[in-house]
Symmetry: C2
Subunit: 461 residues, 2 copies
């Protein structure tokens, strides 16, 4: 099998088979997304009953298009899909993204097998069927009915279209970007392993998240082997569902795959250097922290704060996760004491107290980094109303751009720190809004550092 997906993610031309004039219909929403997303290639709506949709000339069929087609997005009733895929094959279409449902997920495996057989005959690769489509923000490509997410440098492959969509909405709300999203639907042809392999070689993708319910027999080994090759270069995070009895039961009816013993997955992922998480929150915190931060080689965490409470919670969680919140040395304490008021806490957590402004944050952060006593810094800020959180954000960004050092900002107070959070986000410092999550993010950094070392030393690689 070839593994060049460049034309899938950066096609010169796209056809939408089942394009519709009616807002609310899938074939309309996808076409609208393609146009609104700013896709620069040529778009060909296909609908025998229309002359023009959304200002674009409409074609009665794939074969009637007077140009070559890289990708066909198919959203027509399931029973019509085989003949369209046949047409795609004849036309030389490289990828068919089949949005249509009504295949193996409703018990109609026969129809699905038929489609795959036709596709294989012509070398057309299938994404789906029963999928939500794909995004490649780098190419302004939004071949999906899901919302338009801004440019980023992470990839997300999902076995569940709905979960994928829910996560995309969350990214928009949290002002996070994404490069690639692939909803693989029923996984009749193209699956996570091949896509991951391709993305592993793509230097613009900094981290990969995959939502997996189960892998079919024989797939597991290939997946682990592929992951093992990627981990030395970039992190692979797997949100694995179906780890419980009830979960496995649900997986079997949801995707038809066998979730498999959680122990086996846990062990295999560990061997492969994959970071396994079990919640959406952890998945996204790991993805965005690992794709933006330098990777530490050890797990000594400094906690800098202007408020005691959240720092205590962060310290608790760090220790519980096996990180070391080691006390500052006398030397460091001595230096800190020259900057901070006498009632500040110089140990670790370093509590600068509520008066701390941008200047204190900057100087303390620099002292901590230069001390070489720590590998990761969590910087907590709960701005009192007389302190400008944006100034503190600017100070942290200044230090971040000067040192290549892992910094996890934890600005709390929601809307009151919105501008500060956006400022940092534009400079690749992703805010983690609660102390427990900041600690977990520090843990992911530490963990990936260890996994990467192990992967680089592994004899197979």
């Amino acid at each position: 099998m070839f593994n060049d997906l460049s034309k899938l993610f950066n096609p010169s031309s796209i056809a939408i088979v089942g394009a519709s004039r009616t807002p609310g219909k899938i074939g309309h929403e996808i076409l609208k997304n393609l146009i609104n997303g700013g896709y620069r290639g040529r778009i060909y709506p296909v609908n025998p009953k229309a002359n023009e949709i959304l200002g674009l000339k409409c074609y009665p069929s794939i074969s009637s298009i007077d140009n070559s087609i890289d990708v066909a997005v198919i959203c027509i009733p399931a029973t019509l899909v085989p003949s369209v895929v046949e047409e795609c094959g004849r036309k030389g279409v490289k990828f068919a993204i089949i949005i249509s449902s009504g295949f193996s997920e409703t018990g109609n495996r026969e129809l699905e097998d038929k489609v795959v057989k036709i596709a294989r005959k012509y070398g057309v690769r299938i994404i789906g069927p029963n999928c939500a489509g794909i995004i490649c923000s780098r190419s302004n490509l939004y071949a999906t009915f899901e919302p338009i997410v801004k440019r980023g440098n992470v990839a997300f492959i999902s076995q569940s279209g709905a979960l994928g969509g829910a996560i995309l909405y969350q990214l928009i709300d949290e002002d996070k970007g994404l490069d690639i999203f692939v909803s693989i639907g029923n996984r009749a042809d193209l699956m996570e392993t091949e896509i991951m392999e391709y993305l592993g070689k793509d230097p613009e993708v900094k981290a990969i998240l995959i939502y997996i319910e189960g892998l079919r027999e024989g797939e597991g080994r290939a997946f682990m082997k592929a992951a093992m090759k990627i981990v030395p270069k970039k992190p692979v995070i797997v949100l694995k569902a179906g780890t419980s009895k009830a979960g496995m039961r649900a997986v079997q009816s949801h995707t038809g795959s066998i979730a498999g013993s959680d122990l086996i997955y846990t062990y295999a992922f560990k061997q492969a250097g994959v970071i396994k998480v079990d919640s959406v929150t952890d998945a996204l915190d790991a993805l965005y922290t690992l794709s933006t931060q330098p990777i530490p080689s050890n797990g000594r965490v400094a906690i800098i704060t202007n408020s005691g409470g959240p720092a205590v919670i962060a310290a608790d969680h760090c220790e519980k996760l096996g990180l070391h919140v080691t006390p500052s040395s006398d030397n460091l304490k001595n230096k800190l004491s020259k900057i901070l008021p006498p009632f500040a806490s110089l140990g670790n957590p370093i509590d600068m107290t509520a008066q701390a402004g941008a200047e204190e944050y900057k100087k303390v952060l620099e002292l901590v980094i230069e001390s070489r006593e720590y590998d990761i810094v969590i910087v907590i800020c709960v701005p009192p109303f007389f302190i400008d959180a944006l100034d503190i954000a600017k100070a942290i960004c200044e230090v971040y751009s000067k040192y290549s050092f892992p910094i996890i900002p934890c600005f709390m107070a929601g809307s009151a720190v919105k501008k500060a959070v956006e400022y940092m986000s534009e400079r690749s410092l992703i805010n983690i809004p609660s102390p427990e999550r900041a600690s977990k993010s520090a843990f992911f950094l530490y963990k990936y550092g260890r996994l990467r070392v192990a992967a680089r030393q592994a004899p197979n690689w």
Copy 2:
């Protein structure tokens, strides 16, 4: 000690000692909050250098006010506080909320002791010093520089002012209400135990959250005894920080209290029936689920969904937490099959698939509740673009108002479900936006149900 805090939370008159004309100053912000919050009693700004602030007549001193004063909010330099408290005593002020810092938290314990001694002489109760103030939304009382949170029926006592403030901002962002907030600061006089005892007897408070870093010697027993009396009536949730070595070190320097062995706290809280959590997220999910939902007597969870992925994650987390995601009986399956399409999953999770609309949600929810096979239902909704989430929310609320049954809504997709979430929130159905958190919330319901039974059977009560 008397324990009637009614005049603290519903005072007839308040004086602000240190009221200021300058926006950004604490004495200005608190006065503004009192006015903007709609407090219905009389407000007396005290500032010898002003005639009028924010449209209110200003008084040169507490003693010059021509009326009795229930509560004095004090925000003047620490050294001036003793004489003002003395004046409060002479004037018959019942409660002094001391916002001013510069007491034991900066090493000046002597000054703090002096203030307490004067207060005791006159029977003035002190909140603070070094605190962020109090809220009682029921009385439109916002005697704090923290933001104005809407009316609710839960109470939150915090040993950390900053963490308290950060949480209040989060509540506003999440459109959640609150009845009472008390920042107890240095806890020189009034502490969590007494406040909790009072709130335990207040029928309008449905659940109590307390952020605790540590309790001083001798306080522990009184706290546990008080909690034990409240638990049969309403849940007490403690966010306990300082459970790790680093955390304990930080607590000692932050509040001067000894965090104490986590094991001892864990055991004592368990004995007292207190729900102990270790993160802000868990604290708020427990608080809002327990204050709104009926309490189940067992832990059989049904998961109803329109999307497989999140349901699998929810099932995994439920089982991990010891809840039972038991398969539906043949009888229930039979009834469900008459409503749902043939490819839906009738087991548990019950996956109605993406086509499910309000009607399916309503009917399935009713069948599940009436089956008596479950004690708690998690209702997941990831609305496809062709389904109106608000309609589904309405259907769920209809069932919720008809049956007294614990329902945890888990609507995912952020802004896309905002209206639905607001609609439910107005009807006391608090949305939990991720499957792992929905499962944890179900666990809190189950856990409190068990704790309450144990507490009611305890011989001491």
